[in-house]
């Protein structure tokens, strides 16, 4: 396993974790842009652009792109979040050059007006699909309420209104500003010919003009409060709460992940024994999420509407239970669980590619799975208690959605 890194003159980063034992290879083009980088009027443009990339270039039709991807047998896909847009595919090593070439070409999308209007319909269907799925967009609403005017509160999908109002010109302008080489990385893992990868990247992406894409990093002013949204035909009551946590570059994130695993992970966590083992709630969890310049601890449950108050009390007990300390055994089991998850994930080439890419996105020094596991192994009880004090999770922004509108949150 060898980690390689190189940068082209125009600023594009090339990263690979080369594993000669692997039988195939995963590739990704990581663009450091997402919902937080959008002007409010263009909400949803990053995600819409991700769809439009697959609609082809001046030389390639959408059908041609789809055929080319399938002809390489690629499990290709893309994803957009608050902070990134990632295009990825996994193929046999022999397809490295044609795949890198295709992914590179796709970074110059044609944005044909006919395709644009057709894909707009698909995006609106996607928005409607999520509105039918529990928790009915609650997470985005909650992020909006918590972050207020901070860009991290912006929706990834956008709304039917903002997406409907988008034009190819606006999207092109966004693309020109954000898809510059210094804001992108070509990431690979598995059986990689790194020298060839660099040559292919140079040939396919080397002539793109350099540029700088800044990201606004205003300070977060968390908004605390609560809101209940009625949804008559929902069978369950859904409850979510977010509170501050460590940001992506904060060393406390490891201790926080251990804390949330002890309190709210699956299996034998405190929330499991308090809420799930007895069947009091249908689902319940506490987890941490990190962004650049901000972090969140999210608590969550779904339960029958009539038991919402009782379950909220149970959640509060779990959240506050850390005040009574944690045991050596809990710490050991949480570490074991996290390290085992890291081990299992590290055996998948695609998940290695994502790990390398995410670390680049977040401006982190590369750590191997073992090194990441070590970060967790080093956490002490005192570390966990310190982050528990620093990040009280029961004081945040809450949202409940379901048939009950009389809940006090």
């Amino acid at each position: 396993m060898e980690y390689r890194r190189q940068q082209l003159d125009n600023g594009l980063t090339i990263l690979a974790e080369c594993n000669d034992q692997a039988h195939f290879a995963s590739y990704g083009l990581f663009v450091r842009t997402g919902a937080r980088d959008e002007a409010a009027a263009w909400s949803g443009v990053s995600h819409f652009l991700e769809h439009m990339v697959f609609k082809g270039t001046e030389q390639l039709s959408a059908d041609a792109v789809n055929v080319l991807l399938d002809e390489m047998g690629s499990g290709s896909n893309a994803q957009t979040s608050e902070e990134s847009t990632i295009y990825h595919a996994s193929v046999l090593p022999e397809f490295q050059t044609p795949l890198v070439q295709l992914l590179s070409e796709l970074m110059q999308p044609a944005l044909r007006p006919d395709d644009f209007e057709m894909e707009k319909r698909v995006i609106i269907e996607e928005i409607m699909m999520y509105q039918d799925q529990p928790p009915y967009g609650a997470q985005e609403m909650l992020m909006q309420a918590y972050f207020g005017s901070h860009p991290l509160g912006q929706s990834v999908l956008g709304s039917v209104d903002t997406v409907s109002a988008l034009t190819p010109e606006a999207m092109r302008s966004y693309w020109r500003e954000r898809y510059v080489p210094s804001n992108m990385a070509l990431v690979a893992a598995g059986r990689i010919d790194f020298a060839l990868l660099v040559r292919d990247a140079e040939r396919c992406l080397g002539d793109r003009p350099p540029g700088l894409a800044a990201r606004a990093m205003p300070a977060v002013k968390p908004q605390f409060g609560g809101r209940v949204i009625g949804k008559d035909n929902s069978a369950m009551q859904y409850f979510m709460e977010i509170a501050p946590g460590p940001a992506i570059d904060d060393p406390d994130r490891f201790a926080t992940r251990i804390l949330t695993t002890i309190l709210g992970g699956d299996g034998g966590s405190r929330i499991y024994w308090e809420m799930l083992d007895s069947g009091a709630a249908e689902s319940a969890a506490i987890g941490s999420y990190e962004f650049q310049g901000a972090g969140l601890i999210m608590s969550w449950f779904s339960a029958p509407p009539e038991s919402a108050e009782a379950n909220l009390e149970r959640l509060r007990r779990v959240q506050h239970s850390v005040a009574h300390g944690i045991t050596d055994r809990e710490l050991e089991l949480a570490k074991q669980k996290i390290v085992s998850q890291i081990l299992l994930a590290s055996e998948r080439t695609e998940s290695r590619m994502f790990s390398v890419g995410w670390q680049w996105l977040n401006g982190q020094r590369f750590l191997s799975p073992d090194q990441i596991a070590d970060q967790f192994r080093r956490v002490t009880i005192a570390d966990v208690q310190r982050v528990a004090l620093a990040y009280p999770m029961a004081r945040g922004q809450m949202l409940s959605i379901g048939p009950r509108t009389d809940l006090a949150v």
Partner: protein
């Protein structure tokens, strides 16, 4: 060499470097162990399939298999529930249990060096469950929650209703059962279900990962070899109702499920059927993706698949689409399924074969996927298919054979469930819509 030939060559060469290393043993008590050595991994996974699926629920106690799984998971072999959970976590074992049509599965994935210790605890759980009476009400509440959660999962509601239309009882049943039936389940029902369905004959244990066959064989024999056989009571089979059902619901999208007869996995022509459905639904150049989503913008999600029971199969399709274009979506999907009769092209089949082969190689990274795949093979075929055989099957798919199969295959009649405000019309000559 064109692209298709090149991939074929490459996959064959990769396949040749991967050891086949699939072993099967049927013990005297009827338990089958199937395992694959994957020395390139550090992890291992197991799947224990107990023939105690929801098709064995008594008709008045629907949900009993699932309820039993919940209570059995709460400790055994001298361990309480908490001790069992604590032990699994200490071994870094990610574990799960769930009930499907034929089986209740108990599975896990973990660092390979801990496998034996974990299997030992599962032997305790399955052979000597505590069935703690004081946790019956907790188990019931868990089961109630699962039932209630289905109401909010609209695609799942459609698929449950579709299954009820298309397959006869008890294969049509879903594991969760109903609140009314689960309310009537008592400890004695679980104890009887355990006695009547948890015995070694019919159990399939699939294991994949960094294991060695001689070792795992003797370990499994030690843990399960002395378990005594039993006999399950017969189940009564009923004919499916078939038809069209509209589920009125105030939702953003209309959710459509379609099913028509297909063939099961064990059928000699299964791969020919699968090829057609793959051309319909696998990949971004597939027909449904292109015609329903790309060219018409009718939906975000559309798919078709071959669903298989042991002795029968069906072609199933799903689409979530806005009410204004739901009828058009349905019509295009039906058209596209029926167009299979007119044949597929060499290019389509070539692309599908590349995808199937690539998936085969990628699956070699996942001991979890392979362990459950091995169990499926034993159940459906009574033997495990190795990589070389699967590769040869894919390789052997000829355009002529696929097209001859689909030309002769009778597509339909369709059963349909649509959930949304307005009922859709299905014109394939079966009964008028009924509302439930």
């Amino acid at each position: 060499m064109n692209g298709h030939d090149q991939t074929r060559h490459n996959v064959l060469s990769v396949a040749a470097t991967l050891p086949e290393a699939v072993y099967t043993q049927r013990f005297g008590n009827g338990l089958t162990l199937v395992a694959k050595e994957m020395p390139w991994l550090h992890s291992a996974a197991f799947s224990i399939a107990v023939p105690a699926g929801c098709r064995y629920d008594p008709p008045d106690l629907r949900g009993l298999a699932n309820f039993s799984c919940e209570l059995i998971s709460r400790g055994g072999g001298g361990l309480t529930h908490r001790q069992f959970v604590d032990f699994m976590e200490s071994q870094g074992c990610l574990y799960w249990a769930d009930t499907s049509t034929y089986h209740t599965y108990y599975g896990g994935a973990l660092p390979a060096e801990n496998l034996y210790r974990v299997l030992e605890r599962y032997a305790g759980l399955l052979r000597d469950p505590a069935l703690p009476a004081d946790q019956v009400e907790d188990s019931r509440r868990v089961c109630f929650q699962e039932i209630q959660a289905i109401d909010d999962d609209l695609p799942e509601r459609v698929m449950i209703a579709l299954r009820n239309l298309h397959y006869g009882e008890p294969d049509a049943w879903h594991a969760e059962g109903f609140a009314e039936s689960v309310a009537n389940i008592g400890w004695h029902d679980v104890e009887r279900f355990y006695r009547e369905h948890y015995f070694p004959n019919g159990i399939i244990i699939g294991i994949a990962g960094n294991i060695r066959w001689p070792e795992i064989l003797s370990q499994v024999e030690r843990l399960f070899g002395s378990w005594e056989t039993g006999e399950a009571p017969p189940v009564t089979i009923a004919s499916p109702p078939h038809g069209v059902v509209h589920l009125p619901f105030d939702s953003q999208q209309t959710h459509i499920g379609l099913a028509c007869p297909g063939i099961p996995y064990r059928h000699s022509e299964y791969f020919l059927a699968r090829a057609g459905i793959g051309i319909l639904s696998d990949g971004m150049s597939s027909r449904l993706f292109r015609e329903v989503r790309e060219r018409r913008g009718l939906c975000y999600t559309v798919s078709a698949a071959c669903h298989t029971l042991r002795d029968q199969g069906c072609i199933v399709a799903y689409c979530g689409t806005s009410p204004g274009v739901a009828q058009e979506s349905l019509d295009v999907i039906i058209d596209q399924i029926q167009l299979l009769k007119q044949g597929v092209t060499a290019e389509e089949l070539g692309r599908l074969k590349i995808q199937l082969r690539s998936n085969l190689i990628m699956k070699q990274e996942s001991c979890r996927a392979l362990a459950s795949g091995l169990v499926g093979d034993i159940f459906h075929l009574d033997r495990a298919r190795g990589l070389a055989e699967l590769n040869a099957r894919i390789d052997g798919l000829s355009l002529d054979a696929v097209n001859r199969f689909w030309e002769a295959f009778e597509i339909g009649p369709f059963d349909m469930v649509d959930l949304g405000e307005q009922p859709l019309e299905l014109s394939n000559g079966i009964s008028a819509p009924t509302t439930r």
